[in-house]
């Protein structure tokens, strides 16, 4: 697996919503995502993050410019073809549940790709066990709670083994535990199977912890694109798109921490270090 390949190539893309809206949701966006990256896509509502994610996945074809996934031009390919490479998990799980049992739901995509039956059975079991829903396989998806439905939707996409996984707002309306479970799953896929992950989210503390790279959108353009730490250190710039880094980062920044801290762990280490420095050899107990 070559880590230097540009898996996704967004070149000078602009997108205009059809009349009557006539809004340029994307203006001259340039973006390259390499295989194996874990990218967070952030920005205020209406900044173009979902539009960009949909362009990458082929649901929207760029008005100007081109999007290439593994060299394939999205404008020349059917979205259902691209789905074999790019898995897109929609924000509302209820829009992506078609079948009467969890099992059938996860098998649906595999049927469409044309996998043989025994392979399907094996894959469905594997994927459902991974999200702890194998016991629920005969239940109707709509009888499950929202968090569980979201997991069914994700596993249905995962079963197709996409190279890129795009997740739209996986944490809205979930409690902390469920949100973390989804992010852990994405991270696992990224680390163990090399799946490239793009997550759209407002949960900055999760971005801090999980994403290596952050792309910030503002009014249809890329405002900042870089490593998480670098992006979150530009607090004033981020406020233009109504985004604020996690509390701990802003806290550290106001205290003059350089580089900025991303997690509580980091902040703790930094403070202990500063206390040590201040008190010389230290006259406090350290376990």
């Amino acid at each position: 697996m070559s880590s230097q390949t540009n898996l996704v190539n967004v070149e000078n893309v602009s997108f205009l919503y059809p009349p009557p809206n006539r809004v340029w949701a994307l203006k001259n966006v340039n973006l390259n995502v390499e295989a194996g990256e874990f990218v967070a896509l952030i920005g205020q509502n209406g900044s173009g993050k979902t539009t960009l994610a949909k362009c990458i996945s082929g649901f929207l074809k760029p008005t100007k410019g081109s999007v290439r996934v593994h060299g394939i031009d999205t404008r020349r390919t059917h979205t259902s073809e691209l789905a074999k490479k790019v898995g897109y998990v929609f924000q509302n799980p209820d829009h992506q549940l078609f079948k009467e049992s969890v099992y059938d739901e996860v098998a649906f995509g595999l049927h469409n790709i044309g996998r043989p039956k025994d392979q399907i059975e094996k894959k469905v079991r594997e994927v459902l066990e991974r999200v702890n829903l194998w016991e629920a396989r005969d239940l109707h998806p709509f009888r499950l709670g929202k968090g569980q439905r979201q997991r069914v939707a994700i596993s249905a996409i995962l079963a197709m083994e996409p190279e890129i996984l795009v997740i739209d707002e996986p944490t809205t309306g979930q409690d902390r535990k469920e949100a973390r479970a989804i992010m852990d799953l994405a991270l696992d896929l990224n680390r163990k199977e090399g799946v490239t992950v793009v997550v759209i989210t407002h949960a900055m503390h999760l971005v801090s912890e999980y994403a290596k790279r952050v792309v910030t959108m503002c009014q249809g353009q890329v405002l900042i694109d870089g490593q998480t730490r670098e992006v979150f250190s530009q607090i004033d710039l981020l406020s233009h798109t109504f985004v604020q880094p996690p509390q701990i980062t802003v806290f550290g920044d106001k205290l003059g921490f350089n580089p900025v801290v991303l997690t509580i762990e980091e902040a703790k280490e930094k403070i202990l270090e500063l206390i040590d420095k201040k008190k010389g050899s230290g006259n406090r107990e350290r376990r």
């Binding site: 809206n21 920005g43 205020q44 509502n45 209406g46 709670g145 929202k146 968090g147 707002e169 809205t172 309306g173 979930q174 409690d175 902390r176 535990k177 469920e178 407002h202 900055m204 503390h205 004033d236 406020s239 798109t241 109504f242 985004v243 604020q244 996690p246 509390q247 701990i248 802003v250 806290f251 920044d253 106001k254 205290l255 003059g256 509580i264 902040a267 703790k268 403070i271 202990l272 500063l274 206390i275 201040k278 406090r284 107990e285 350290r286 376990r287």
Partner: protein, 290 residues
């Protein structure tokens, strides 16, 4: 006669008819007039059900086995109709899509007032006031289904608020909002409580904001109220919170971690500003001026 508690729940229990699963058991809770009460808890704890019971949606709209007494401003919810209760309590539900049904935002905001037969000029002035308060004046001529999720949430909150109820219940009203949008909404709602004496009960997951704005926070888990306390005490119950998957504000968690390492802290900060002050004193740093 001054009623200092607006809502009283005594020994409240509830299970839906459909699956007979007990959703709430033995709930005792007092909501004080003019307070901002936050409700936290994992999914499935019964938080939405609790709001439904407070507003009378249960039992008047959803059926089930309800036990105990629920009193709003001295009257039992079972003695009044849903319409009568809606004069006292406003409820903002979780999904904004399900609460916006007019074509234009300006109509949505006025709709509830129209139902009450309030004269036109009054409706228009009230509407202008509400739009300014929630910062949605620029949306007034927008078509409601063209709005983003966050905009819809703000319109939903504004439409319910415009009814002028003394009690406002909100179910995860900032779930689709970006970080700064969230702060703006919390700030506006806090103003309602502190300046206008409106009683607020809000179900939320966001600890940082609740710690800053709420007067008290209740923890609901598996249908029971495990804890009700003002933020400082609430977030000090580390084991209980960890058990139920509730994360305290990051600066608070940081402080507890440092305490474990033996650092002496004057007090545990709950908010960003508090933490900056506490730690700059501790470290003797000059705060980076922005």
């Amino acid at each position: 006669m001054e009623i200092s508690t607006n809502i009283e729940l005594r020994e409240v229990g509830f299970s839906y008819l459909r699956d007979h699963k007990t959703v709430l058991r033995n709930v005792n809770l007092d909501v004080k007039k003019g307070e901002f009460l936050g409700i936290m808890g994992p999914t499935g704890a019964g938080k939405t059900t609790l709001l439904y019971i407070m507003s009378g949606v249960i039992p008047h709209y959803f059926r089930g086995k309800l036990s105990g007494t629920i009193t709003v401003k001295g009257k039992k919810t079972t003695d009044l109709t849903l319409a009568q209760l809606s004069k006292m309590i406003g409820l903002v539900m979780q999904d904004p899509e399900s609460q916006i049904f007019n074509l234009f935002v300006r109509e949505e905001l006025a709709w509830g007032l129209e139902n009450r037969g309030i004269p036109r000029e009054e409706i228009i002035s009230k509407r202008n006031e509400v739009m300014k308060f929630f910062g949605i004046e620029h949306l007034q001529n927008s078509v409601t289904y063209d709005l983003s999720g966050g905009e819809k949430q703000r319109v939903a909150i504004a439409s319910v608020y415009s009814l002028g109820n003394e009690i406002l219940l909100l179910d995860e009203p900032t779930s689709e909002l970006d970080p700064i949008g969230t702060t703006i909404v919390f700030d506006a709602i806090k103003k309602l409580a502190s300046k206008q004496g409106i009683t607020i009960v809000m179900v939320e997951h966001k600890s940082e904001e609740l710690a800053q704005f709420a007067d008290r926070i209740a923890l609901l888990n598996e249908g029971e109220i495990k804890l009700v306390a003002e933020p400082t005490k609430f977030f000090s119950e580390k084991e209980l919170l960890a058990e139920t998957g509730i994360r305290p504000p990051q600066v608070t968690e940081l402080s507890y971690e440092l305490l474990k390492e033996g650092v002496q802290l004057k007090h545990i900060p709950l908010t960003l500003d508090d933490a900056i002050q506490t730690y700059s004193e501790l470290l003797g740093n000059s705060v980076k001026s922005n």
